[in-house]
Amino acid sequence: MSMPNLAAGPVQRHLLVGVAVIAAFALLPLVLTERYMLGEVIVFFIWAMVAMNWNVLMGHAGVFSLAQMLFVACGAYGMAMGVMFLGLNVWAAIPIAAVASALLALVIGMACLRLTGAYVALLTYAIAEMIHVLIITDTVCFTMVANNCQQLFGGSTGFSRFDDFGFRQLLRGNWVLGNYYTVLAAFAVTVLACVIIIHGRLGLAFRAIRDNPGYAASRGIDRKKYQIIAFAVTAFLTGLAGAVYAAHYRFAGPSLFDFSTLMFVLSMVIVGGLGSTWGPLIGTGLMMVVVEFAKGMGDARNLILGLALVVFVIVLPKGLAHFGTVLAQRLRGGNRPGT
């Protein structure tokens, strides 16, 4: 039987690519020593984690969730509150925050995933926005921090100045390298997990459901069950991204819920290629560079984000990753039909 070979091929190939990408980033600080640039790469890791998970959820599992920034915020807030209120160690707070994110996704998923398509998008968006409004309108003081009122969920200012990874004492001048490799580790976990999910059995089930829910159901693949699994697993990894974000910046606040932030990450997924494996990485890098230039041109960030979304959806709905594949096939020539 040739089936196992066919199924095992792409996983190993994509895992190799993943390991190569991670190794390249691990060696990058040898050439790139500027602290500002290393900081930008850390931001890239964090957004790439969120974008890759969104791609798994939306492009492969077919769940159009607009609550992804809610899970980032859950990870960030969970980490901040664990450190500030429960006195947890940073390294213990990070996995706990990620688990909290997955649990939140489980609850939201069980409520929303009876529905499909646009209904899911609208409900997840409404839930995220509701939590946003509840957090910023909260004025009841939970504790006092340095004579300032600190609300249970941070109110309209959020949490800041809590413990970070602790590399400032340990590595002194090179503390940014400590943060770099910590976030890279989280990024590596996400990349490998996404490849295994997309090209493993779970991914096959996701695509079967996305392409033909009726046929998938008739072969024993329960749409709701698999979509809830996808929702919870990607929320765990998205929450992890949020937790390392909070630990790196020592900040967790309601700006994470901004519509423009949601659109920023969505544009990374769409520009890179929805439903591909590596598209979100390309998209994240490209959109970060484009937005950096846009800042120089008189704050045109949102304008460019919006235009990129509209233009790509109309002209290249499968994104740059698909475009690249097609281009590569054309260049190789049409003398090998059927491959």
Binding site: A121, S267, G306, V313
Partner: protein, 292 residues
């Protein structure tokens, strides 16, 4: 008693504005199968158009409403001609159009912010004064909002049910291919629907801005409420959207009064989710038989 009248007046005023927004949103979804994330910006642009005209030449209320409708209809038609038209036949239309209209929303919001700035201007076109009903002070503006919404919704109902134009829209909504085969110009119908929904959004925006102030983000909150209303009514169900708008607004104002304003929307959303667990296609949604 006075409290109950107060709750009903607030609920009906909010319900009128939600209904104007939700009916347009639902009409677009029912006909084109597209969810318009930019609908909130249609409202904002309607309100700003009136503000601009009014500061330049000074408008009476009736003309203000006309300007808001015209601005909303124009932006709706422009959206169709410049964007939606090219995507109608794409394979994943439902997802793609959500993304595209969300992109449009953020572009429009940025343009409004850059043109007018973030200053919360008051809307100049409005009526001052109050009257008393059973000991409760009711502003004339609230009465105007109720009247305008009632007229607009009756006009839409008449258009959809009693005219040839409405029959073409309903036919296209039920089955696009069959309507086309019967000689309905579906492209024109789509354009008309976008114009009609845009006009309703423009009026809604004007009404909302008379109660609060103008700001680039003013459409966000009513849009969110309109989403929830459309979902609970069943997407694309225009009548259900109108009924649910008033029902949910009354509920929201009652909860807001007894438990505090910030819990009005969350409790409403919780109830909506419970309703959806019981009826996944919304209160008024009908099961569609899907061939596999």
């Amino acid at each position: 008693m006075e409290i109950i009248i107060q709750i009903i007046v607030t609920g009906l005023t909010m319900g009128s504005m939600y209904a104007l927004a939700a009916v347009g949103l639902s009409l677009i979804y029912g006909t084109l199968g597209m969810f318009n994330m930019a609908h909130g910006m249609f409202m904002t642009l309607g309100a700003y158009a009136v503000f601009t005209m009014s500061s330049a030449i000074g408008l009476p209320l009736i003309l203000g409403i006309v300007v808001a409708m015209a601005a909303g209809a124009l932006i709706g038609m422009a959206t169709h001609l410049l964007m939606v038209r090219f995507m109608l036949n794409s394979p994943e239309f439902e997802t793609n159009i959500l993304v595209a209209t969300a992109g449009l929303a953020i572009v429009l919001e940025d343009l409004v912010l850059k043109t007018y700035g973030g200053y919360p201007y008051p809307q100049p076109v409005r009526i001052e004064g109050i009257m008393r009903i059973g000991g409760v002070a009711v502003t004339y503006q609230a009465m105007v909002i109720l009247a305008v919404a009632a007229v607009c919704i009756c006009a839409v109902a008449w258009l959809l049910l009693r005219t040839k134009f409405g029959r073409a829209i309903r036919a296209t909504a039920i089955n696009r291919d069959a309507a086309q085969l019967m000689g309905v110009r579906t492209g024109t119908v789509y354009l008309q629907v976008m114009a009609l929904a845009g006009a309703l959004a423009g009026v809604a925006g004007l009404m909302i801005s008379t109660l609060t102030t103008l700001s680039p983000q003013m459409g966000g909150d009513p849009l969110l409420k309109a989403f929830v209303i459309c979902v609970v009514a069943g997407l694309g169900n225009v009548w259900g959207a109108g009924v649910c708008a008033f029902g949910l607004a009354l509920l929201e104002s009652a909860i807001g009064f007894y438990f505090g304003v910030r819990f009005g929307f969350p409790v409403m959303l919780m109830l909506v989710i419970i309703v959806l667990i019981w009826r996944p296609l919304g209160l008024f949604g009908r099961e569609k038989v899907v061939r596999l």
